[in-house]
């Protein structure tokens, strides 16, 4: 019996899973050597909802995202995806969960030996064996067109701009039609126009696909544009969570200072 079958046959508490948040993080702790990065982080994200995680550099925003997709193991705490605890899963068991998750890396992390189209087709090649080569190619091109990269199919990642790489990374993240989308600094390093285009693209994709999303960003404008809720992190924990208006009305000194300089 393979891992997928085992997970399908042994769903932990199916009734609770249906009502559970799509992403549920509880009391997460993580240190790198003496440096404590996460200090009891808790957050939930429901279907169709987008949470933006804001905060200064080094407050554990990206680490929390990497823990949610299983690229880092927490020291303690719980991460549940669709109600299923993932922190103790093996690589192959995690793989089954990750098929429903899309991840956009800060620097896109496109495979530099593959063309843009092959990058997007990569997850399909490995997980959609029932698709023919032509079908995979067609699907990859369709996704690239959706993110505004039609005609760039045969280019190598090094031959396109940073903004285009982010778009291609987004197309790859969407290849397996995930119901969770995790975006690590989607607008970092981009000019204002490219940032705006990426924001609009993410917003459009979320409206079309109704995914549960978490966006890690420094860019307050981007966070306001694409998220329903914002969570401001400091010293590895959430200082405040709510709408942008709620953040603006906060009396917490750190929140005021963060908004002042953003």
């Amino acid at each position: 019996m393979n891992t997928a079958d085992q997970i399908a046959l042994n769903p932990p508490d199916t009734a609770n899973r249906a009502n559970a948040p799509v992403i549920s993080v509880e009391d997460l702790h993580k240190s790198f050597g003496p440096q404590k990065v996460l200090n009891g982080l808790s957050l939930n994200v429901n279907r169709g909802e987008t949470l933006a995680i804001l905060g200064r550099s080094g407050t554990g925003k990206s680490v929390s995202l990497r823990i949610i997709i299983g690229l880092e193991k927490p020291d303690s705490g719980s991460v549940r995806i669709h109600g299923q605890e993932i922190t103790g899963l093996s690589l192959d068991e995690l793989g089954e969960i990750r098929k429903k998750m899309g991840f956009l890396f800060q620097h896109a992390a496109l495979y530099d030996s593959l063309t843009v189209e092959q990058n997007v087709a990569f997850p399909l090649l490995h997980h959609k064996q029932e698709m023919s080569g032509n079908e995979r190619s067609e699907r990859a091109r369709q996704l690239l067109t959706e993110v505004g990269l039609d005609g760039q199919y045969d280019k190598m990642p090094s031959d396109i701009s940073g903004g285009m790489q982010k778009r291609a990374g987004l197309a790859r993240a969407l290849a397996l039609e995930p119901d969770i989308l995790l975006l690590d600094e989607p607008t970092a390093g981009l000019d204002p126009i490219s940032s705006g285009e990426i924001n609009e693209l993410v917003l459009k994709l979320q409206q079309e696909h109704h995914m549960a999303s978490i966006v890690v960003t420094h860019d307050l404008h981007s966070a306001k544009t694409i998220s329903n809720r914002l969570a401001l992190l400091d010293k590895g924990n959430v200082v405040i969570e709510g709408s942008f208006e709620e953040l603006q009305g906060s009396d917490i000194e750190f929140v005021k200072e963060f908004l002042k300089y953003s």
Binding site: I69, G70, R98, F103, F105, H107, Y111, D112, H126
Partner: protein, 260 residues
Amino acid sequence: MASTLTAPTNFIGDFFEWFGDLGIFFWRVARAAVTPPFEFGELFVQLDEIGSKSLPLVALAGAATGVVLSMEARYSLTRFGAKSLLPAAIVFSVIHETGPIITGLVVSGRVGAGIGAQLASMKVTEQIDAIEASAVNPYRLLAATRIVACILMLPLLTIAGDACGLLMGWVAQALVEPLSLHQFINSGFKGADFNDLLPPTFKTAVFGLIIGLIACFQGMRTEGGAAGVGRAATSSVVLSSLFVILADVVLVKFILIFFP
């Protein structure tokens, strides 16, 4: 005083930590290699990359070794009045030791550096994380395919290196003193049996395991940007060459005991 005491302790600690991590890495790769889905497409790419593309270098190194052996052995054997043993000396030297070890060292240089640098570059640019995030096991896709390709290709490359060494050994001898290839082969392989041919050739599968494993391990644990990539490439070559030589010592003893 304290620093002089802690330095060797740190070194010993790091040494055992490195071996422990290597053992864990090997276990993960071995488990990934024997469980589906199998990455046959990537394996064929690596067989070509490691095997076909190393062939010219191995053939050249083997040929040069054959020429040098022929010249050196002629000089030595003539001094001791055993010139008639020259073909056998070349054949046994090439097949027993120089062919396998030269192939191992040449491949550890070319392939070890290539795998180490490629995987290290993928690691520091988060491409390995991206593979994992796409629900693909990187130990299966990247490490198992390269290690299996090294294990399969080393014996074949050794045979090619041996053949070139023997051919050029004959050419070097024939240029000094007329001798047909047929006579050279007959004289050289006289008295040779299974134990002379197969165990020394197939011990290079262990060299392949060492080269692939160490290069993948050093590449996939890289940290620290471009400098880290450089360190990974260098350490892949140095460590895999060193362990190939050490393994050769053990394997020669093993072969002499079990295949006398």
